[in-house]
Structures are given as C-alpha cells and as structure tokens.
Amino acid sequence: MTGLLKKILIIVVLLFTTLALYLNFILMPEYQGLKTGVSNYIIQSALRDTGSLNLITAVLYDYRAFDSLGESTVIFGAVSGIVLILSRKMLPVSSKGLSFIVKRTLGIITPFIGLFGLYVISHGHLSPGGGFQGGVILAAISIIFSIVYGSAFDYRRYSPQKKTILETGGALTFLTIGLAGLFFEGAFLHNLNFLTAEPGTLLSAGSIPYINIGVGFKVGAGLAIIFYSMIQKTFEEDY
C-alpha cells in the first residue's frame, strides 16, 4: 500500500469515526446537574461531615479515599517500574549547570518554592490544591536543582535512597491513617472525627491534612525519582 493511499484511508476512517461519534454524542442532552444522586448530598453535607471547605478534597480523601489510596499505589508502582526499567549504576553523574547568576537567583527562590509547595499541601482542605498539586511543586525543586546546579548536587542533597524512603513513608502514612480509621472509627479509611476542629482552621477536617501531607511527599519524591531516572542517560552521554 502506498503512502498516499494509506493516508487517505486513515483520514477516511477517522472521518467516519468522527461522524459516528458525532451522531452518538449529539443525542446527549445538555447537562442540568443531577436531579438525584450524590452531588447534592455532598454539597449539602460534606462540610458537616468532614470539616473540609474544599469539597473536592473532601471527596478525594474522605468519601473516595480508597481511590486516592489506589492512585498513590499506581504512582508507587509506576515509580518502581520506571526504576526497574531504567536501573543503571547509580553513579552521581553531573553536568556543569547553568551560569552563576541563575544559580544565585535560584538559591534565593528555592525556599519560597518549597514553602509554596508545603502551603498548597497543608491547605488542601481549605483552598484549591492538595497533596498531588503540592507534591508536583515540591518535585519541581529537585528538577530545577538538577538543571541548574547539575544532578550531582541534587544527588548529594537528596539522594534517590532518601527519596525512596520519603515516597514509601508517604504511602505508609496513608495506610496508617486508613488503619487508624479502622481502629478508632470502625471503618477502614474513615475520617478521624476526634481530630476535627472548627472548619476553616489549619488543623481541621480530621485526618485529611495528614493524608495530604503523606500524599504530597509521596508524589513529590516519586516524580523526582522519575525525573532522576530519566535524565541519567543524557549525562552519561555528556561524559
């Protein structure tokens, strides 16, 4: 089959698929919000139930906390898989890094990035954000270190072993809180009601902030490990 013919075939097929999808989705009525079902329930009683102002966080870490546990297991598995695939000799490979100006500037900014990350993590139940988002910001620190100072610096400061411990620690925190829910409240991953304080304060919303912290460290360390595993080859080529 020649190239042009194949291209035409593909485009025709895709156009047909578009048509088919269009005909199916055009039947869908405009969404008016659920008449029945759970969203009304959550909107009305999530604050009372969990003490979390952020309803999405309430859904993620209270009502559907098991999904989040599964999700962090997915990250855990993906990270160990990537490490397994890319595992080479863990030599501290390095590059020269960027210019002096950038290095100094970053040195000043880094604490603020970290602070912002921690803020996003710890205020997950109060404002937009949460463990995943804050964790990604934390991972950015490690990535920026590798780019700007060279990966040897990053390696010395936060070695992959440390990151692994952080990551596993995050996962274990989540599991521990789940088990604590079992012991104190009678159901696995039940929110710890005795930790609840006035809604709107930092340490309110039961166990949600603690889960957020665990997930945040887990995601941050996990993404940093992924990044570190991926860049190794580039540096091997440099030297």
């Binding site: 919000g33 909107i43 993620l60 993906a78 990537i82 937009p128 992924i226 991926m230």
Partner: protein
C-alpha cells in the same frame, strides 16, 4: 452540544496524532491529547453555572458545581501522568537499543 463537539474534535485529533505520526513521542502526545480531551469534556460538561466547589466561611450559598467529576478527573490526571512517564521511559529505553524514535525505523514494531 458545543462541549461535545469540542470533545469529539480534540479526541479525534489525538487519535489522528496517535495513528499518523511516526515519532513515538508524538504518539504519546496524541494519547495524552485524547485523555486531555476527555478530562476537559468532563469538567466543561459538568459545569452547570455554579461556583467552584469550595465553601467560603459563613456563607450559605450552595450553588456549587458538582465536585465529584472534578475529583474523578483529578484521579484520572494522575493516572495519565504516571502512564505518560512510563511510556516515555520505555521510549528512552528503546532509543538506547535502536538509536531512533521513529517507529518505522524500529524493526519489528510492525510484526
């Protein structure tokens, strides 16, 4: 209606990229475009004109958007991110063996 149209267009663009492009990384981008189309559609579709679903203290207005699709989408995004990382890892590894990321030049990807 409009949401659905945008969703279909984005989704088919992703599928087109996935099928047509020879570059493996572009294929990953196509796959992520498909996922992004779904997530965007979910968020846009569930918008019923309410506010973002975060309480303000001492407020009794309950006209929120449904928080559940957003939470589900968040989970989906995380899964998408980890799979994208895994895909890219595999491409790096494949590049190590074959020295290319053009899928037509990688022998044996066809049969």
């Amino acid at each position: 209606m409009f949401n659905n149209l945008i969703f279909i267009i984005l989704f088919m663009l992703g599928l087109y990229t996935l099928i047509m492009k020879k570059n493996l990384i572009k294929m990953v981008i196509g796959l992520n475009l498909m996922e992004a189309a779904v997530f965007l559609w979910v968020i846009a579709f569930s918008d019923t004109g309410g506010r973002i679903s975060i309480h303000k203290l001492a407020e009794t207005n309950f006209n929120f958007n449904d928080p559940v699709p957003q939470a589900l989408t968040l989970t989906g995004i995380v899964i998408g991110a980890s799979t994208a990382a895994l895909l890219l890892t595999l491409i790096i590894e494949l590049n190590k063996f074959t020295g290319t990321i053009d899928r037509d030049q990688i022998e044996g990807l066809n049969d």
